[in-house]
């Protein structure tokens, strides 16, 4: 009886298009328009050009690709880029954690200014950062001269200079991922630990730090990913010696300037693949940690 009644009733129109198969019905309008625009724009601006990269690299053929990538110069550029990015991300993990701790837990004069300043590397154009850092760390610069006089250490135009630039541009990531988690950490857990007889250090290392570790790893991964691709702030301070202080992005630019489009595409593809692979590992690590600490 019910079935008979429902056959001659008016059913709601849920768009009546292919879209309704993909999407739960909703009364809010504009889905087709906005999704259509989003996909078109995404396709034209991002996906199509990225496809051009793989097409160009694929055009070299399997052996041609490896011939372009497995040269000593390219390999050492990869070593320089990834190695120094890891080092810079590690430095940022340590000091970024301390900065986040200080900003969340302590109040001191100028607190708010310091907090705002942490984002400077996001806002300052990389070329400006690059020339400022190289002026600062050059043998006649403010810091470079001190390091030279005291330790005989040359920073600018060496791999150390690259690490400094990469530390600069990755600085906000760790601070900004750890900060909100630390802010939201319930004080009860620390109070419970203290009331159970834990020392301050035990409370930190066994209660607080494990809770912050996933965020710290995220921040590390973001700083690392940013550093691997960085170009502007590095080239001024690097010295750009092939095999010693030449980074992968610079090598791509050099290949382009020599009209070696295929080589540039191959190195670029390789770089994307390696960074995605490393980020995948870091994401899995992070997912595993979250799962272990799931509340």
């Amino acid at each position: 009886m019910v079935a008979a009644a429902s056959t001659d009733t008016v059913l709601p129109s849920s768009g009546g298009t292919v879209l309704s198969v993909l999407k739960k019905p909703s009364v809010i309008p504009g889905f087709g328009l906005t999704l259509g625009f989003t996909l078109t724009y995404l396709g034209l601006i991002v996906l199509l050009p990225l496809a051009a990269l793989t097409i160009k690299a694929g055009g070299l053929g399997w052996s041609g690709f490896w011939n372009a990538v497995l040269t000593p110069r390219v390999l050492s550029a990869f070593q320089v880029s990834f190695g120094l990015s890891l080092a810079a991300a590690a430095v940022n993990a340590v000091f970024g954690f301390i900065v986040a701790w200080v900003l969340v837990r302590y109040r001191f004069p100028g607190h708010r200014i310091v907090d705002a300043l942490v984002d400077l590397p996001f806002a300052l154009p990389t070329a400006v950062a690059g020339i400022a850092l190289s002026a600062l760390y050059a043998p006649n610069g403010w810091i470079g001269k001190l390091l030279m006089d005291w330790f005989g250490l040359k920073v600018a135009f060496t791999p150390i200079g690259i690490a400094i630039a990469l530390t600069f541009i990755g600085l906000p990531f760790v601070v900004r991922t750890v900060q909100p988690i630390l802010q939201d950490l319930p004080p009860e857990e620390e109070e419970a630990a203290a009331s159970l007889g834990a020392s301050r250090w035990q409370t930190f290392s066994r209660v607080v730090f494990p809770a912050l570790l996933p965020a710290l790893v995220t921040g590390f991964a973001l700083a690392f990913a940013r550093a691997v691709g960085e170009y502007g702030s590095v080239i001024f301070i690097a010295g750009n010696m092939p095999g010693i202080s030449e980074i992968v992005p610079l090598l791509i630019v050099i290949k382009l300037e020599q009209y070696d489009y295929g080589g540039a595409a191959a190195v670029g593809t390789m770089m994307l693949v390696v960074s995605f692979f490393l980020l995948l590992i870091l994401n899995l690590l992070q997912a595993w940690m979250r799962w272990r600490h799931a509340r």
Partner: protein, 285 residues
């Protein structure tokens, strides 16, 4: 308020010595890596006095670079603004298959090196690129011209507005829009009168960051620019040329304008966070 009090609670506070050491370490690190580089820009720019500083800024190539930077940002930012609104509308207000993939793809440009962001357009539109020869036969030039600069800038600033708005709109839900529709508003009326006022500060926040990056981008535009003085040189590229010509004062003078822009951005960002922190909370992950 709780967070403030927490630092002083006996059970969870750190000793005065630890506190002093931590603050000193943090401030020392930030001084070395942030304050000194920033200060050096202005010191180097004014090394030869205000006259030389001013001359470097009003020189025709510098003015052309400033104008080009403003032009590129004026095209790229609105494009990504419209995109950000459309993307966050369909992602935040609807449930559909493949949404997570879409969000990942929108974030993709952030994980691509700026140099590669430029490279892909050269490979597509360049003289030896996939459709470059065809475009040339039609008399259209994209690479080593303004369209290329705009495209590369759009690519690197692609996710900024969308990723601010998506969490904000997700948090605000759909109830107010539903209320408006029941009260008789049309789709556009609902958007203009209900949704837009609710997201305006988040929108401004995204535009601010998008604009800062658009005006300051170096790697991507460097690859597609061709470095033609007075024509395809944006401010950051002009800084590079001057620096490579050992014209340090001029380089730092132009750089100081960009540094000022960064400072203004930071202040505006801090003001937005301070004034509308609660409304923006969702966007700060």
């Amino acid at each position: 308020m709780l967070a403030k009090a927490r630092g002083h609670a006996p059970a969870t506070g750190d000793s005065a010595l630890v506190r002093a050491l931590m603050i000193a370490t943090a401030l020392g690190f930030l001084l070395l890596f942030l304050v000194l580089p920033l200060a050096s820009v202005f010191v180097e720019a004014l090394r030869r006095g205000v006259g030389a500083y001013w001359a470097a800024l009003v020189e025709p190539d510098a003015l052309a670079a400033i104008q080009l930077t403003l032009t590129v940002a004026a095209i790229a930012v609105p494009m990504n603004l419209v995109f950000g609104i459309a993307a966050s509308w369909c992602i935040a207000k609807f449930d559909f298959r493949g949404k997570d993939l879409l969000i990942t793809l929108i974030d993709l440009p952030f994980s691509v090196s700026p140099v590669i962001s430029g490279l892909i357009y050269v490979l597509l539109f360049g003289l030896h690129g996939l459709i470059g020869p065809f475009l040339k036969s039609q008399g259209i030039q994209i690479i080593f011209a303004v369209p290329g600069l705009v495209l590369a800038t759009v690519f690197v600033t692609f996710p900024f507005v969308a990723r601010e708005l998506i969490p904000l709109m997700q948090e605000q839900g759909t109830e107010e829009e539903e209320a408006a529709l029941v009260l008789g508003a049309s789709g556009w009326q609902t958007f203009w009168r209900v949704t837009l006022p609710n997201i305006k500060w988040g929108l401004m926040y995204g535009v601010l960051l998008c604009n800062a990056r658009a005006m300051g981008e170096f790697g991507a535009v460097s690859v597609v620019s061709g470095h033609i003085r007075g024509e395809t040189n944006t401010m950051p590229l002009h800084v590079e040329i001057l620096y490579n010509e050992y014209n340090f004062v001029a380089a730092f003078s132009v750089a100081s304008v960009l540094a000022l822009l960064a400072l203004v951005t930071l202040v505006a960002k801090a003001v937005l966070e301070w004034r509308f922190g609660a409304e923006l909370a969702a966007t700060r992950h």
